[in-house]
């Protein structure tokens, strides 16, 4: 059993983090200075840079600030910014988490706000010492997966191995989420065939069609030059490899960022905005995807990489699974699991899937993932707009 942290709203986390959140880029430096001076790996920086109000950003910040791994929050606003800081503060407080808000223009500028913020961190740390612990079953875990820096090996080694791990987690009652409908272009029919209802199947196909139309308008697929360096030639080739992360379980629902799956099972996240194309690319880099996974409750993220990503994340640990044996030789200090041995040493996909599963349990039990131990706490949140999911998207609700 995993020894989790019990929140007053009944949710259980695997970490006890205090977030310091800037609510506009103009408050970023002050928030970062508070985090740097606090010098505590559990005091972590998140934020939203925009000054214009955005419903998606407010929802994401609310979900993140009340994430099961988060025990308390410090909000930093410049003062004139458009972010609804009182609504965010109230939502955090209503969840039973301690929260303090500082408005730089009222507190008296950079130095005074950093000093006051550090004192607030001290109060939050003192309060979090007494966070009650609670045993957590595997079925209570929410696990996400993404791929970054994919290459021709990803779809052969790391991604199918994560799929095996997902199959076991889902079998044991856990909630698993895979995503990036733009990286599933070409897989819509086979994916729809795994939906638990025909109505959900239609929603999944429509979500991928939307992604294809969106990326076509933007002029680029979700395909980086490094993907081609690594032997991937087309979007659909990358998609088929990415798709194998989902394993073989039935697909229980289609969610959007910030929607919390109602019960255990495998869920697909639709990350492509609704309506006309605006605000640019759906996810400008890998961490934007991790942030959306966390907003839907992921306690940790399985990150597969062929070219060799090094990122981690604030709030939820990232477990790095390296697909390419040559990349592993160069970047082994950044990797949790060497799935490349499927190609180089003839290891089986099942064997590596089991290794990933064991790593999930270790990290959920408090062991540091490699990126976490190296201090990686990347975070990025940008503008988007979504309609709520349709009634057919969660058949079990």
């Amino acid at each position: 059993m995993i020894n989790g942290y019990l929140r007053q709203d009944g949710r259980k986390g695997i970490r006890n983090v205090i977030i310091v959140a800037y609510l506009v880029e103009c408050a970023h430096h002050v928030a970062r200075a508070i985090v740097t001076k606090a010098d505590d790996p559990n005091v972590q920086l998140i934020g939203f840079p925009g000054c214009y109000p955005n419903a998606y950003a407010l929802k994401m910040m609310q979900r993140l600030a009340t994430h099961p791994n988060v025990g308390g929050a410090l909000l930093v606003s410049l003062g004139c910014d458009g972010f609804n800081r009182s609504a965010l503060g109230e939502a955090i407080s209503d969840s039973g988490r301690p929260v303090e808000t500082f408005v730089i223009q009222e507190t008296g500028g950079t130095k005074k706000t950093v000093d006051a913020g550090l004192e607030a961190i001290g109060r939050l740390q003192a309060e979090l010492v007494d966070t009650p612990r609670s045993l957590m079953d595997v079925s209570e875990l929410v696990v996400g997966t993404i791929c970054g820096g994919s290459d021709g090996t990803s779809g052969i080694t790391a991604n199918p191995a994560v799929g095996r791990c997902f199959d076991r987690l889902v079998y044991e009652g856990a909630t698993c989420i895979f995503e990036e409908t733009g990286e599933l272009i070409g897989c819509e029919q086979v994916m729809a065939s795994r939906a638990t209802t025909p109505e959900l199947a239609a929603e999944i196909e429509a979500a991928v069609d939307k992604a294809a139309a969106y990326y076509t308008t933007l002029g680029y697929g979700s395909f980086a030059p490094g993907n081609a360096d690594g032997g991937l030639t087309t979007q659909e080739e990358k998609s088929l490899g990415a798709y194998s992360k989902s394993g073989d379980s039935p697909i229980s629902g289609l969610i959007k960022p910030g929607d919390i799956p109602p019960q255990g099972g495998l869920y697909l996240m639709d990350v492509v905005p609704d309506g006309e194309v605006r605000f640019g690319f759906p996810n400008i880099s890998d961490n934007a995807e991790i942030v959306e996974m966390m907003a839907s409750g992921c306690h940790l993220t399985l990150f597969t990489t062929g070219r060799g990503s090094v990122v981690g994340s604030a709030i939820s640990p990232v477990i790095k699974i390296c697909a390419n044996p040559e990349t592993y030789e160069r970047l082994s200090d950044d990797m949790d699991v060497n799935a490349g041995r499927i190609m180089s040493d003839g290891a089986s996909v099942d064997e590596v899937g089991e290794e990933i599963y064991q790593r999930v349990i270790e990290v959920a039990s408090g062991g540091h993932s490699i990126s976490e131990a190296l201090g990686h706490q990347e975070f990025i949140l940008t503008y988007k707009s979504f309609e709520p999911i349709g009634p057919s998207c969660l058949p079990s609700r």
Binding site: G152, T153, I185, P225, G231, T233, E237, N324, P325, M343
Partner: protein, 106 residues
């Protein structure tokens, strides 16, 4: 003489490409379905080689599923990549997609 361990993987019996398991040097003798031939270029791990002669317009099959179409005829054992195949959905791009002389108008 055939290599002890093939540097190529067939992922699915319907595939018309093979995946490179380890770096293949130009001039190296490789074997495809019992036929020995000489690699005409070096090829990195994770890349694809043609399992058959492939004609322009033909679908490329990997994992038993189509991943795009041949855009220029390919010889047996030739490297299959962006120079001779393309997406059936969205074109791929490289680091030269945006150039400085295009953004500096003055």
């Amino acid at each position: 003489m055939s290599p002890v361990k093939s540097p190529l993987i067939l992922l699915h019996e319907r595939d018309n490409i093979l995946i490179v398991r380890r770096f293949i040097a130009e001039g190296e003798v490789i074997e495809i379905d019992g036929q020995s031939l000489t690699a005409t270029s070096s090829v990195d791990v994770g890349h694809k080689l043609a399992r058959f002669v492939l004609k322009k317009g033909q679908k490329v099959i990997r994992f038993g599923a189509p991943i795009g179409s041949i855009s220029a005829d390919v010889a047996l054992g030739e490297h299959v990549h962006t120079h001779n195949m393309q997406s059936d959905y969205i074109p791929s791009h490289d680091r030269q997609a945006v150039k400085l002389d295009e953004v500096e108008h003055d």
